[in-house]
């Protein structure tokens, strides 16, 4: 029997905002088209979510605004604390080591893990970047946190990353405000890749960009996935983006995973009423 190829196995992830009451179940969930209990006002952002992510795989998470997909991503990013559940992680560089539960780590190790093993790209660049620092400074942050202490070496690495993400390296010391939306996404990607993470989290990275810019950013992500066999978790409300990048997809609604499967199966033979609506609404 060969070693399992998964690197991340999440199960039973819950996140609620509010105390909860005995009648919550009666009123919330996709069947009631509601995430908030009308009795106690508790919001169920994510309920009993789980998935397995294999090395080198792209998993799509699709759903409308407020469906809980970003909450799920932020729980994996260890930025939002899950109320319960497990996130088992198997380090791809040491495949024989036992998996660890990321949710059991203390704050210090969790911070270190986030910096070193995860990369994240947000829809809004100002969430992922510090607009007061230069482009190079932003890309350098993860390196500095990982104890890179030689400015010359750091700048060589930044330029490498900028070339990799098709940014002009001579603009290393420029102000991010002078960059276009598509370029800022590339800066975010360069920053995310700087620590050679084992998992890249993408949160609506192309939403809000012009179509032509969107296509080029997606091309870049596809190339990185291809060349580095990067494992990715891709959140999008756009089925077109999911279709281009993800082989497997999770569909979320009102905090619940209503369907998961191969992306082509989700698109061609959707089972859940909501997925059918989603597919039929695609342009």
């Amino acid at each position: 029997m060969t070693a399992p190829t998964w690197i991340l196995h999440a199960s039973g992830l819950n996140k609620q905002y509010g105390p909860g009451c005995p009648r919550c179940q009666q009123f919330t969930g996709p069947a009631h088209n509601n995430s908030q209990c009308p009795v106690c006002n508790t919001v169920y952002a994510c309920v009993d979510a789980g998935f397995t992510l294999h090395q080198g795989e792209v998993l799509g998470i699709v759903g409308e605004s407020g469906s809980g997909k970003s909450t799920l991503l932020q729980m994996i990013n260890l930025a939002t604390a899950a109320d319960s559940g497990n996130i088992w992680y198997r380090e791809p560089r040491t495949p024989d080591a036992d998996p660890v539960d990321l949710l059991q780590m203390d704050a210090y190790r969790s911070r270190h893990f986030r910096n070193d093993r995860l990369g994240i790209v947000y829809q809004r660049p100002e969430l992922g970047l510090n607009m007061r620092f230069t482009v190079g400074g932003n890309v350098a942050e993860k390196l500095l946190l990982a104890n890179w202490r030689h400015v010359g070496n750091i700048r060589t690495r930044i330029r490498e990353l900028m070339e990799q993400t098709e940014l002009p390296p001579e603009r290393i010391d420029d102000d991010p405000h002078t960059f276009s939306g598509g370029m800022l996404q590339r800066v975010q990607i360069a920053k995310a890749l700087s620590s050679s993470p084992s998992l890249l989290l993408l949160d609506e990275v192309t939403s809000g960009l012009d179509l032509s810019v969107q296509a080029r950013v997606l091309d870049l992500i596809r190339r990185i996935q291809w060349e580095q066999q990067m494992t990715m978790l891709l959140v999008s409300h756009d089925l077109g983006v999911i279709k281009q990048l993800a082989r497997r997809t999770i569909v979320m609604k009102n905090g619940h995973i209503v369907e998961s499967g191969l992306t082509d199966q989700i698109l061609e033979d959707p089972q859940h009423p909501y997925t059918q609506l989603l597919v039929s609404s695609a342009l």
Binding site: T5, H54, A215, D219, G261, L277, S280
Partner: protein, 227 residues
């Protein structure tokens, strides 16, 4: 008795249309068929009878409602494509089962040479080596050299279809599912397809074709089923 490469048993597929008052349609009812290694199996019948749906159930683009689809994998032994988990299906698609849809769907920014060699590169072949093979294939498929670095989106229907099929054949899967391979092709293009199917069989690929073009394909078929 040897185990067949593909054995479909009592396959049912129904669609529940939640958006149209939840009605159910049943395009496939109780279909069984067997495909052996190296065989060319032809599935024919009139439009709308569910031929393509059977292919998609085998490829798992559709989830079968009931029945069994046993695929005899080289790596994993007998696998029921109805029950197999997603990652197993992905592994089989990666190495053993190919699917060629009726129309070529590619990104408009990728060159023909990259489109046709994509399955090889995905299997881990170096790009230079894959491109060498790709050039041979494009020549055989009769695609003019000046088009190799253009996107197939700009090609004629016949050229697109030849690229589409070339891409499916190039990786030599053990089972290839072809959906209407000769539709919209002229006689000479059809002959290229016929040659490809024959060569694939020689290399050990079993082909399951869905078509209503009996004139071209029936004479090639080792087995057939009319719906």
């Amino acid at each position: 008795m040897t185990v067949p490469l593909l054995h479909v048993k009592n396959l049912h597929k129904s669609f529940v249309l939640h958006l149209i008052d939840g009605r159910t349609i049943d395009p496939i009812q109780n279909v069984s068929l067997t495909v052996d290694s190296n065989q060319h199996f032809l599935l024919w019948g009139r439009s709308g009878i569910g031929k393509t749906s059977i292919l998609k159930c085998i490829y798992r683009s559709y989830l079968a409602s009931s029945g069994e689809i046993w695929f005899n994998s080289d790596q994993f032994g007998s696998v029921d494509m109805v029950q197999a988990d997603d990652s197993m299906v992905l592994k089989l698609r990666h190495r053993e089962i190919g699917y060629c849809s009726q129309f070529l769907k590619v990104l408009p920014r990728v060159a023909a040479l990259d489109v046709i060699t994509e399955p090889l590169v995905r299997q881990g072949m170096l790009q230079a080596q894959a491109h060498d093979i790709g050039r041979e294939w494009l020549t055989q498929l009769g695609i003019a050299q000046r088009l190799w670095h253009a996107s197939p989106v700009t090609f004629s229907g016949g050229e697109q279809q030849r690229i589409n099929l070339g891409r499916a054949f190039i990786a030599s899967p053990r089972l290839l599912l072809l959906d209407e391979p000769t539709a919209s092709l002229d006689a000479s293009s059809k002959q290229i397809i016929v040659d490809m199917i024959q060569r694939a069989q020689q290399r050990g690929t079993a082909v399951l074709t869905v078509s209503h073009d009996l004139d071209t394909l029936a004479k090639l078929a080792d087995g057939q089923l009319a719906l």
